[in-house]
């Protein structure tokens, strides 16, 4: 399945199919940025303080069935990375913690079709509704 981490796929299967103990549901979610393209086993999250970047929290609506056999969640508030320095950002990840860069477990990931290149002082914004995670 595209853009779902191996960690999340395994824990979802564990929960539904009585496998090994599944993970505790996160209380908060972090959204990170990547320099390269994330994969199911590597978020390629930007190093702490590189480009003056830090992971931000993400707020998501409750999941809803939007079509037969398809449920989605969407971010309900803008996710803003403020006062960045010069950098290139090519993808993002949703994590099970906000704590700090390269911590916790990656759940979802995706690549931007066009990398965003910032200048000093720029902000990068994922507006409300920019991220939609789906299972179908």
């Amino acid at each position: 399945m595209a853009n779902i981490s191996s960690y999340m796929a395994l824990n979802t299967m564990n929960w539904w199919m009585n496998g090994a103990a599944s993970a505790t549901r996160p209380a908060a979610w972090g959204v990170g940025l990547s320099l390269g393209s994330p994969t199911s086993v590597s978020g390629s999250e930007i190093t702490l303080s590189s480009s003056n970047y830090s992971r931000q929290s993400g707020l998501f609506q409750n999941p809803a069935v939007v079509a037969a056999g398809t449920a989605t969640v969407t971010n309900t508030a803008a996710i803003t990375y403020s006062n960045l320095s010069v950098g290139t950002f090519s993808g993002c990840q949703v994590w099970d913690t906000v704590l700090s860069n390269n911590s916790g477990n990656m759940l979802w990931y995706g690549a931007l079709s066009v990398a965003r290149i910032t200048q000093a002082g720029d902000s990068l914004v994922f507006a409300s509704g920019a991220l939609t995670a789906a299972l179908s």
Binding site: N3, F126, A127, A133
Partner: protein, 50 residues
């Protein structure tokens, strides 16, 4: 494979809702989109979005 699930999904990014905010020489902040479009942020709306 016979009877395969064929499931799909994942994380979708709406590129039109991902933008850079940059302050330009005229003193205004602009949204800069992936396709090069620019949209000036009026001061009264800026506080709500940043």
């Amino acid at each position: 494979m016979s009877g395969s699930w064929g499931g799909k999904g994942g994380l979708a990014i709406d590129e039109n809702k991902v933008y850079i905010v940059r302050r330009k020489a005229d003193g205004y902040d602009y949204k800069i989109f992936h396709d090069g479009r620019e949209e000036r942020i009026e001061p009264e709306t800026e506080a709500k979005e940043k």
